[in-house]
């Protein structure tokens, strides 16, 4: 059964006709065509599909698309502006926190939301905040460094 869906993604309004059993992840990737958001498990366990819904990180594979009716979605493509990377993105690049990159969009968005709430998180808070984002490649060492570096950039500092 299809139903109208009004949704704002990265600031753009979409009016779509979407089946009621589609997830937000499916709509973002297949209907809207933004493939930066990844599917790693489809059941809330890996965080690869993380998007910000009204600024808060959610697993888009666990949200029915129609539950986002009228809401604001930010995907990785909407972060940063034009050619300029968001400080969190820059920090991931410069600290070497990216390997295969499949976890990266989700990781970056979760980190951004964490820093929005808590601009100078402790290490423990970083670990707690990113627990829902699995990475099989990096061992997380440089991801923690990236979040620390991003915090520093956002506070007006520079990456050493």
């Amino acid at each position: 059964m299809k139903r109208e869906l009004h949704i704002r993604v990265n600031g753009d309004e979409y009016h779509l006709l979407v089946e009621t059993h589609r997830t937000l992840l499916e709509v973002i990737r297949d209907e809207i065509g933004l493939t930066g958001t990844k599917n790693g498990c489809g059941q809330g366990e890996c965080g690869a599909c993380t998007v910000l819904l009204d600024g808060e990180p959610v697993n888009s594979c666990l949200v029915l698309a129609h539950e986002a009716e009228g809401h604001d979605v930010l995907t990785i493509e909407g972060l940063g502006s034009g050619d300029t990377l968001h400080p969190v993105q820059r920090a991931f690049v410069e600290t070497g926190a990216i390997q295969c990159g499949y976890c990266t969009p989700g990781m970056v968005l979760t980190a951004k939301a964490l820093l929005d709430h808590n601009p100078t998180p402790t290490r423990a808070e970083i670990l707690e905040g990113l627990k829902g984002n699995l990475c099989r490649c990096t061992g997380y060492v440089k991801i923690v460094e990236a979040v620390e570096a991003a915090s520093c950039l956002l506070e007006g500092g520079e990456i050493e």
């Binding site: 059993h21 997830t23 059941q43 965080g47 808060e56 990180p57 959610v58 666990l62 979760t110 829902g132």
Partner: protein, 293 residues
């Protein structure tokens, strides 16, 4: 996922009416973190999904006049975790909520969903039971209230009848000189709980003697359970090492764990003993410290 009808009612009455319709197999949807997984992997095939998202009066945290807290069923666990009122009046509930899944999961998952899904391992259940919380149930017109410890009837089963919804959870005010805590194994990973222990102990003035105690266990029986025999053993006793050891052994006797992928029954028994002892020891230290720390 198989196709289904989807409704987003704007009143409680309407929601309950759809759920009550005997013609269909309607399913309430709160955060969807259990429902979607079950629809995808576990063969759940509702004909209608009833979104509770736009139903007013379900998403709130209210500081009650008597010193208790009422939490709307569709309140996300993330909001429970961060609520100043909850952190002040029943911090152990905030703690239990904070230990569910990940930030992403907690932003969607609701306290009502956690309880109504009725997993034996639901993290918010043991502490709420230990605190004597009540479930406020509605059929859209009338309300009834049951003690949360009587809410669960089996794995995935509750006292909710067709067409009924959980509207809120009411946590009574904490008695004077009471200590409450929730302990879960193992927190290092994003783990579903292997064993959860919720405790609320009230002490006599100026001593470690127990006036009243409730101990609830998660993931060791078909439902979250109260360890009544252990409570009986503890009642009126001075908490010391011997009593704590006896009580922890009693808790093991009472638990009825089974083998599953996450742990064997034998290992769960080890954990029940260790964790019961640890929460009681913490309570004892708290009482001996004059109700601090």
């Amino acid at each position: 996922m198989k196709a289904f009808d989807y409704v987003r009612p704007s009143t409680l009455e309407e929601a309950c009416a759809v759920l009550a319709d005997p013609a269909g197999s309607a399913k309430a949807l709160a955060g969807g973190t259990d429902v979607l997984v079950q629809m995808r992997a576990a063969g759940l095939r509702p004909s209608v999904v009833v979104s509770l998202k736009d139903v007013p009066g379900l998403n709130f945290i209210h500081a009650d006049d008597d010193g208790g807290v009422t939490i709307g069923a569709v309140t996300p666990l993330g909001a429970v975790e961060h609520s100043a009122v909850i952190k002040e009046r029943c911090p152990a509930v905030a703690q239990a909520a904070a230990w569910v899944g990940s930030v992403q999961v907690r932003n969607r998952a609701t306290i009502g969903g956690n309880l109504c899904n009725a997993a034996p391992s639901a993290d918010t259940a043991p502490i709420l039971i230990a605190l004597g919380a009540e479930a406020v149930i509605t059929d859209g017109r009338e309300e009834r209230v049951v003690l949360l410890e009587e809410f669960f009837t089996g794995p995935g089963q509750t006292v909710l009848g067709r067409g009924e919804l959980l509207r809120a959870v009411r946590v009574p005010p904490a008695p004077a000189r009471s200590f409450a805590t929730y302990l879960k194994t193992f927190r290092s990973a994003m783990d579903c709980c292997t064993v959860g222990v919720g405790l609320c102990a009230t002490f006599e003035e100026g001593s470690a003697a127990i006036k009243d105690v409730r101990l609830a266990l998660g993931a060791v029986a078909p439902t979250p359970m109260r360890a009544r025999a252990t409570e009986a053993l503890l009642a009126g006793r001075e908490l010391d090492e011997t009593t704590i050891a006896a009580a922890s052994a009693k808790a093991v006797e009472e638990a009825q764990p089974i083998d599953d992928i996450r742990a064997s029954a034998a290992y769960r028994e080890v954990l029940v003993e260790v964790m019961s002892r640890r929460v009681l020891t913490a309570a004892c230290a708290w009482a001996q410290n004059g109700g601090r720390g």
